[in-house]
């Protein structure tokens, strides 16, 4: 037993040392801590977000960094677990991060945003759930449209373009999917469209046969699919197997490059609204897409764009304030309008409001011959 007592003490000491270090080594760099889903349910989205951000960091550092200081970008995996996320954000704050980059999934964001706020550290996230920017947190910034802004656009689309009187809604039962479902259903009903089926699916679900059959037998005029990437592809394949021939409508993910690649023919004809896309009629997106493909050997989805443009937003605001001061950064960022002519890395003109929501143009698209084809451009919610 003496042994185990000694072992326990030793363990305690090692632990204390291990956790206590880290903050001491402040150098002439800008520390940005990525708190990102590198494993667990959010691994795919997280990897894209991280790769996009990493590419931006490499470019920025190659050109001399932010205000002459290189970006020191470290990434801590959250395992898509809120507790771990909280720990990682806390760790970033303790290590003196200038900004926290991530996470992408909304649950972990909810779990951790108070920590960043308490420390006054800007947090640039990939989450789309409507609630995030409604809780008075002053340090959070989105890199993509809020569901609450995207869904009315989509409901209009169902009414005017698809001309559906009834819609089956298929959503993934996490905060992202539930948030989308809760946002779209009232918008559809407001426009007199009936909800023919309301189908929850699991995240990381593999077998979508039962859900596809249910959609088909609901006899709705169209189906709205709000799932993560792979699940979207699996669903498209499953519903195609059922010989489904009515419009399949989605939001951003459904029309993403990854889904089209994975679903193959089954993605043909899918349509809907897209926030960010490498296929948008915009030379900057196309150029980003090419660079990303060259660097990582696969096609980026919208999360890659979010990570990339988010990092440039960080840089741009810091340079505008002329100093590395978090308070000044936050002050400028709230209400900032960033145009591509000033900062090409932002990829698309964007306005950040007082809550941290972003407003920008978005697109209507359709999958034709294995490609996402942009069929229309929608203006920002509030013109700027």
């Amino acid at each position: 037993m003496k042994m185990s007592k000694r072992t326990a003490l030793l363990g305690g000491v090692t632990l204390t040392l291990g956790l206590g270090l880290g903050a001491a080594m402040a150098q002439e760099t800008v520390k940005v801590v990525g708190v990102i889903e590198m494993s667990g349910a959010g691994a795919t989205a997280g990897t894209n977000y991280k790769n996009g951000a990493q590419m931006a960091v490499d470019e920025i550092n190659a050109k001399g960094g932010i205000l002459g200081k290189k970006i020191d970008f470290v990434v801590y995996d959250t395992q898509t677990n809120p507790g771990n996320t909280r720990a990682a954000v806390q760790r970033g704050v303790d290590e003196g991060a200038f900004a926290i980059f991530g996470p992408v999934f909304s649950g972990p964001i909810s779990a951790s945003m108070q920590i960043a706020q308490k420390a006054g550290v800007p947090q640039i996230v990939g989450g789309e759930a409507a609630g995030l920017t409604k809780q008075g947190v002053t340090t959070i910034f989105r890199t993509s449209l809020n569901q609450a802004d995207a869904m009315p656009k989509l409901a209009e689309y169902f009414k005017n373009d698809v001309k559906a009187n009834s819609v089956a809604v298929v959503w993934v039962n996490n905060d992202f999917g539930k948030g989308g479902r809760d946002a779209i259903i009232p918008e559809l009903q407001k426009r007199g469209i009936k909800i023919a089926a309301d189908i929850a699916t699991e995240s990381a679900q593999a077998d979508f046969a039962a859900d596809a059959i249910k959609v088909k037998s609901s006899n709705a005029d169209a189906v709205f699919v709000y799932l993560n990437e792979e699940e979207s592809a699996r669903f498209l394949r499953a519903i195609k197997q059922q010989g489904y021939d009515k419009p399949i409508v989605g939001e951003t993910t459904l029309l993403g490059a990854k889904v089209i690649e994975l679903a193959g023919d089954a993605a043909e004809g899918a349509k809907g609204h897209v926030g960010l896309s490498v296929d948008a009629p915009n030379p900057l997106f196309a150029e980003f897409g090419k660079k990303f493909q060259a660097k990582f050997n696969y096609k980026s989805d919208h999360n890659g764009i979010k990570g990339y443009s988010g990092m440039y937003m960080l840089k741009h605001v810091a340079e505008k304030t002329g100093k590395l001061d978090k308070e000044a950064w936050l002050k400028y960022a709230h209400g900032a309008i960033i145009r591509t002519k000033d900062e090409p890395g932002i990829l698309i003109d964007s306005k950040f409001d007082a809550n941290g929501d972003v407003d920008r143009e978005s697109f209507l698209a359709e999958v034709k011959k294995g490609q996402q084809v942009i069929t229309g451009t929608l203006p920002p919610v509030n013109k700027f």
Binding site: M38, N173, I213, R234, G264, Y298
Partner: protein, 292 residues
Amino acid sequence: MDQFVQLILAGLATGAIYALAAIGFTLVWQTSQTINFAQGEFVMLPAILVLAAVKFLHAPLPVAVLMAVGGFLLLFGFGFKQYIVNPMARHGILPLAIATMALSILMKESAKDGFSAEAQQFPSLVPEGAIQLFGATLSLRDIAIFVVAVVAIVGLQLFVTRTKTGRMMQATAQNPTVARILGISTEKMILLTFLINAGLAILASFLISPVYLAKFSNGEVIGTAAFIAAIVGGFNQVRGALAGGFIVGLVDNLAAAYVSSAYRAAVPLVLLVLVILFKPEGLLGSKEERTV
């Protein structure tokens, strides 16, 4: 009504995959008291290995398949038994089960870091297309999955009951001590079951990856389903595992459609708990004797 038929047919195709995984699980349990929590990852990995061989070694697809099959049998048939099960077997069921849990993380993370975090297409051996049956649409792929799985299982059953090696294997599973006295090389027989388990996993992997897509995290769902199917079948019966796989596949699909999609995952479990409480030896299993 055709919705019902449709659900049944889809459930059978899914169930066939679960059955393949559950049979391997049961075989390994029978011969070496290994609860393999990495069973799902066993089904995930072969497809990834094929894709990795194509991507990194630029091997043509048939060569890549051969390499993946050989490598997997060696690592997760022979190696798994030799280097994980053998040293730990005598320390009881739980440490070994936990070790397989660690193995599952290891396999998952290796696939993710070594290959890709993203889902990948996997070539299908069966053409796209569908036929009409009882007013329901049935894809050729589902039919193929079902047929291949059933042929494999029937073949295995014939092997076990009709050949000398098969009977020796069964004897080893049922009573290793007696088998040893009868002069059967139980070591070899146990190895054989591990190889068969790996082989069934490869088959399942190649069958479902075109549908589910090849991804490092695919094992989670399949592993749990195989575990449940094995228990439903009584844990110690190949026939039971077969039935268990189909039952889980069917109940899951019907539950999703008729009960509640949000509580879908619970329905088969709750039903099975009731079964266990009233028939503790599983649906087809035999009572484990109580020794005084």
